[in-house]
């Protein structure tokens, strides 16, 4: 935290009083979120004779578990990457657009959020079929020699997931880019910096906080998604979240379910923490 930001913070007494505004939220989260989470954690380290790590030992010694973890990480990273590559330019365009154009873009990004994931996933089922739009397009343009099914493939899953999570990549980047003074790039240009140099030394460092929150949002959501893989790839392909769901709902195996849930939680949290740490390092003096 810089000196300027620190000096802007309200003085002790006032800050303490304002903090009471968070009490309802904290109370609510404690009851419906933290408490069940503690039960879940406790369940994963409890055996017939009390505390034990045997569930984890058992889980990690099974090669199938490693395949599920790898599936989760791979799909999460690919989805995040697709969202980043598509979302970053869109966020910049949106932040720099003016008037009606900006409103139109914002609506186009936010409106799809009001459509349920299940509806979207079913729509993707139609698009990704062997005789779906994507297949027809790729055959028509000669990229594919014959129609193929994308549904129930990893490509289809990543495409669908990226579609659902894209706004969560765009919006944090957009809100940061919007605050960057366009004069900064002009100042860089008049100092002799090429467009690429300006992007690297001015734009990117200033956008980093938005990039990190976008990545953290999309990654944590895509490693823990349940409905989308269930509908777009099916039971053959398991991720940590779907396995957790199956353990609880189908197999009635609370021990396995709570173990996979904890593994997923640790995975997601550590990636988010690592990315914000990395951002601080890269951000230099920020």
């Amino acid at each position: 935290m810089s000196a300027a930001a620190a000096s802007l913070a309200p003085t002790g007494g006032q800050k303490d009083r304002v903090a009471w505004l968070a009490v309802p939220a904290v109370g609510y989260l404690a009851i419906v979120y933290a408490l069940p989470l503690v039960f879940l954690l406790a369940r994963s380290v409890t055996g017939p004779e009390g505390f034990t790590l045997s569930l984890f030992v058992q889980f990690f010694s099974d090669p199938y578990s490693w395949r599920v973890i790898w599936n989760t990480l791979r799909i999460g990273l690919l989805t995040t990457l697709v969202c980043l590559v598509i979302g970053f330019p869109v966020a910049i365009a949106m932040a720099r657009a003016k008037g009606l154009m900006q409103v139109a873009l914002l609506v186009a990004i936010i409106l799809p959020l009001s459509i349920g994931v299940v509806v979207k996933a079913f729509a993707w089922q139609i698009v990704l079929r062997r005789d779906g739009v994507v297949s027809q397009f790729l055959v028509g343009t000669g990229i594919w020699s014959e129609p193929q099914r994308l549904l129930f493939t990893e490509t289809g899953l990543v495409l669908g997931a990226a579609n659902v999570f894209l706004p969560f990549m765009i919006l944090p980047i957009y809100s940061v880019v919007k605050l960057i003074d366009p004069r900064l790039s002009e100042a860089g240009a008049t100092l002799g910096a090429s467009p690429l140099y300006r992007f690297r030394r001015i734009f990117l460092p200033l956008t980093l906080p938005g990039l990190v929150s976008g990545i953290a949002f999309v990654f944590s959501m895509s490693v823990s998604m349940f409905v989308i893989p269930s509908l777009l790839i099916g039971d053959r392909f398991q991720m940590l979240a779907t396995l957790t769901g199956r353990s609880f709902l189908l197999m009635r195996n609370e021990a396995l379910g709570s173990t996979t849930a904890v593994v997923l939680l640790v995975l997601a949290v550590s990636i988010v923490v690592a990315s914000s740490w990395l951002a601080k390092r890269l951000g230099g003096t920020q």
């Binding site: 000196a3 100092l191 140099y197």
Partner: protein, 361 residues
């Protein structure tokens, strides 16, 4: 890149720019000599910042050319122009320290590390901010930010410096200090500079020459004394300094380049060539008017309405039938302790009378 035989260091030729149906710059010519400090002075919307941005390459002109040091730079992007800019908002890089901001341009140009370090040290010294080198620019005051912005632009030794109202965010006292300091800094570095401002005092005080701009045109380009003493147009007269203005009609033109004018305050004479019957605007600067009659010169009578004490001098305002002020500035004070309501004679030299065709209403 065409070599052009131009004596001017910066030569802006017929620069024109329109935004939609609005003409912002109406074919402006501007020639600036090497080492000169030229101000673009005018009200907001007169096109001065647009002209500046065109010279910097941040905006493309619809037509016309910009020639710098004999090279046509019209088609060059800003990072190949060697034209430094100090922005009104300073536009310092918020994620960098003071020293990193000053070093930015040199690093972008791939200057050797030793040279960068030496230049940054020198410029931080010049702006008296060596002690704050590693401070974040966000922690600086307005005046300090302004100095860093100037140092950052000067550090790459640009051929030309453009300053876009760099003092407008500073309070009056600090502004005066910074004006003197900027002049000193530019002189020490030996840079040619164009300075955009709407503040006439600032322009008069700092410039070698002033370009008075109005509605996308340069109305007058001259040294500050000429701008003040001999404004070329009614706009330049009104925009720079105070004046008493009288509208009237020429009744008689003499052979010696002098005309006799009927005004609402009586007959006056003024140097100029107009045919009888022309509507004209006559004007005189307040400090050139005196109380009392002067034989052989212009004299009018007016009713005193207000006296304003201004320390070293007083300003006397008179009732005017037209909506134009009559005012005198005098270091001597009001003669005979006249009070508001008193009718007084005011006089000034015929030679000091400025005369223009009456501007269209």
């Amino acid at each position: 890149m065409t070599e052009t035989a131009s004596p001017a260091f910066l030569d802006v030729r017929k620069a024109a720019k329109a935004f939609g149906a609005t003409t912002v710059l109406d074919g402006v010519d501007l020639a600036v000599a090497r080492g000169e400090f030229v101000s673009l002075l005018g009200p907001s919307g007169c096109g001065k910042t647009t002209l500046l941005r065109i010279v910097a390459g941040l905006l493309s002109s619809d037509s016309g050319a910009v020639v710098l040091d004999g090279v046509d730079i019209s088609a060059k992007p800003p990072h190949h122009r060697d034209v430094g800019v100090v922005f009104q908002s300073y536009a310092l890089f918020p994620h960098l320290t003071v020293a990193e901001n000053v070093a930015f341009g040199l690093e972008a140009r791939g200057a050797p590390k030793d040279e960068i370090r030496a230049t940054v040290t020198r410029f931080l010294d010049l702006i008296h901010m060596s002690a704050l080198a590693d401070r974040s620019v966000r922690a600086l005051s307005g005046g300090q930010q302004q100095r860093v912005a100037v140092a950052r632009a000067l550090a790459v030794k640009p051929k030309l410096m453009l300053l876009d109202e760099p003092f407008s965010a500073l309070d009056r006292k600090l502004r005066e200090t910074m004006q003197i300091e900027l002049k000193r800094l530019l002189r020490e570095v030996g840079t040619t500079a164009i300075f955009v401002t709407h503040d006439q005092d600032e322009a008069l005080m700092m410039s070698d020459r002033i370009a008075v701009m109005n509605r996308g045109r340069i109305e007058q380009l001259a040294d500050p004394a000429t701008i003040y003493k001999r404004p070329a147009t009614p706009f330049a007269l009104e925009f720079v300094g105070l004046s008493t203005r009288l509208t009237g009609t020429v009744v008689e033109a003499s052979g010696e380049g002098e005309v006799l004018i009927d005004t609402t305050h009586g007959r006056i004479r003024a140097p100029g060539r107009f045919v009888a019957g022309s509507p004209v605007l006559a004007a005189v600067r307040p400090e050139l008017m005196a109380f009392g009659e002067t034989a052989g010169e212009n004299t009018i009578r007016a009713t005193l309405s207000d006296v304003v004490f201004q320390g070293s001098r007083i300003q006397a305002h008179f009732e005017a039938p037209e909506d134009r002020p009559i005012q005198i500035e005098s270091v001597a004070g009001i003669p005979g302790g006249a009070v508001p309501g008193a009718e007084m004679a005011l006089s000034w030299r015929v030679a000091d009378t400025l005369l223009y065709p009456a501007p269209a209403p």
